[in-house]
């Protein structure tokens, strides 16, 4: 059985929210990944914030971004004896239908050999104290 990355331990994570990130977490609570897009010039932006960097508008709409894939990733291993979580895989996730957004998220439930740049992803969720946090697994990885 090939090594699988651990889920980050989010049991102590109390996600801070403000008016501009709240819609993201509201969506997450309902199992929906929503990303902010300018209501005027239709550019996606990340992280959620009060202005569109392209046209400075404050109109914001929240959309489901469609497919997700790996833009880059790292495999983090703790040194022997180090006070760090076990092997885990932080990744940058991109969304072909939401150009301009790269989301940092953990890759889980996937054999290491299936984790590659460009791999299509499925959305999963991990429980933090006050929020559901998106994590991803590689869609239909080759069986070992």
């Amino acid at each position: 059985m090939e090594e699988m990355p651990a889920r980050p331990d989010l049991s102590t994570l109390d996600v801070p929210m403000d008016a501009w990130t709240q819609p993201f977490w509201d969506g997450a609570a309902q199992g929906k990944l929503l990303l902010p897009r300018c209501g005027k010039c239709r550019h996606f932006r990340w992280p959620p914030g009060p202005f569109c960097p392209h046209c400075q508008s404050q109109q914001t709409e929240w959309l489901a971004p469609g497919t997700a894939r790996i833009y880059s990733f790292t495999v983090v291993r703790a040194r022997a004896g180090a006070d760090q979580p076990p092997m885990h895989v932080p990744a940058l996730v991109e969304f072909p239908e939401a150009d301009g957004v790269r989301l940092l998220a953990a890759i889980v439930d996937t054999p290491l050999s299936a984790i590659r740049i460009g791999a299509a992803l499925n959305l999963e969720w991990s429980q933090a104290i006050n929020a559901m946090v998106p994590v991803f697994s590689v869609a239909a990885p080759a069986t070992i």
């Binding site: 790292t74 495999v75 040194r79 989301l103 953990a106």
Partner: protein
């Protein structure tokens, strides 16, 4: 008439492994480096009338009280963190050029207690738009920049052998320096055998964590002629950055082409224009090497090779002491010490005085870069051609 600024004094404490400089305090280290810099210049501490700080800054009142500096006319701290290290020279240059101050003491220092820089992403207070690193399990800048390194490998075919060459080259240089903290030469086999910490980076790709302080005295080139050392002029200095790079690895939403860079192109453009030279005129490059792949990306940003060709470029031996652009002949952050860019400024000055341990023969122009980090990033071109 505008005064051209020159570095006339350098001072440093010994370099200590993280946490081993006690019982000296941070301000004691700063004081020792400052007094050494002033003495090196042939000046007295009472000649200092300006202070320029790097990173989070220090207390001007405390330093003037402690050292007996009678009066200051200028005190400023660079706005950036790791990206701003060469920015102290920019601040000092502005103070001298405008006549605001006559002799500026530039100070950079670090002393790590319980909180490690290497885990700084895990330690910072979470904010609503900065919670993502924590959620993804990224604990430090090295893990974050591993994402950039892997993408550069994917897009351009850069190999781990290139990262290794940056480290081996640095270690080779440090091997001749008594004050360096990692002096044992490293082989490619040993590098490749080292377990990954944040794939594609192993322990050797991460810089040291060091305690220490460095200080530099900047005055006018005119006054410099009467002082103790061969003057080293600040031919160009910049603190700059583009929105496309922004908060760097605290953001990660750069446009594609910028993601696989070190974010230094705006700084490079300004420096070359201001100094009136090209990359081929640079004799020695002191590139901020917190993580080995970022040296390769800076070589591309600063125009020493084409975009994407940094890997083969370093593998060709180009950055060795006898290469086309020697990089970090002092061993850099990877092998000598990590005092957040300050050791690079010291080495640039020693190279241009002609007294460096690993002297590049006939060096006339030295490039110093600040770290690939949130903007403004910084850099300077120093010269001994008055």
């Amino acid at each position: 008439m505008m005064q051209r600024p020159a570095i006339v004094g350098i001072g440093a404490t010994p370099y200590y492994f993280r946490g081993t400089s006690a019982p000296q305090t941070l301000y004691e280290l700063i004081g020792k480096a400052s007094l050494a810099a002033v003495a090196d210049a042939g000046l007295k501490i009472t000649d200092i009338d300006g202070l320029a700080f790097y990173a989070s800054g220090f207390e001007p009142g405390l330093i003037t009280e402690m050292l007996g500096i009678p009066e200051i006319n200028f005190a400023s701290t660079v706005a950036a963190q790791g990206g701003g290290s060469a920015g102290v020279l920019d601040l000092a240059a502005m103070a001298i050029e405008t006549g605001r101050a006559k002799a500026v003491l530039c100070i950079g220092a670090c002393q790590q207690g319980g909180r490690r820089y290497g885990l700084s992403l895990a330690n910072i207070a979470l904010t609503p738009d900065g919670v993502w690193s924590r959620a993804a399990g990224l604990a430090g800048p090295g893990q974050a920049l591993a994402l950039v390194a892997r993408r550069h490998m994917h897009v351009y075919g850069t190999r781990r052998e290139a990262f290794a060459e940056v480290v081996l080259s640095s270690r080779q240089s440090a091997s001749t320096r008594p004050g360096a903290l990692r002096r044992t030469p490293l082989t490619l086999d040993a590098y490749m055998a080292e377990p990954m910490l944040a794939d594609p980076l192993c322990r050797f790709d991460f810089c040291l964590e060091t305690d220490g302080a460095l200080a530099f005295v900047v005055t006018s080139a005119e006054r410099a002629r009467d002082l103790a050392q061969r003057p080293v002029t600040i031919a160009a200095s910049a603190q700059a950055g583009s929105r496309d790079w922004g908060r760097a690895f605290f953001w990660f939403n750069m446009p594609d082409a910028v993601f696989t860079s070190a974010g230094a192109e705006p700084v490079a453009r300004r420096l070359y224009a201001q100094a009136g030279i090209d990359p081929k005129d640079v004799d020695v490059a002191l590139l901020y090497d917190h993580f080995s792949p970022l040296v390769i990306l800076q070589l591309e940003d600063y125009g020493f090779c084409a975009r994407g060709e940094g890997g083969p470029f370093v593998e060709s031996g180009a950055i060795r002491l006898d290469g086309s652009i020697p990089v970090n002949p002092h061993g850099g952050h990877l092998s000598e010490a990590y005092v957040i860019g300050m050791t690079h400024i010291r080495e640039a000055v020693e190279q241009l005085r002609g007294v460096a341990v690993n002297q590049i023969e006939g060096a006339e122009f030295a490039l110093v870069s600040g770290g690939p980090a949130p903007i403004p990033m910084s850099g300077a071109i120093l010269s001994n051609q008055l």
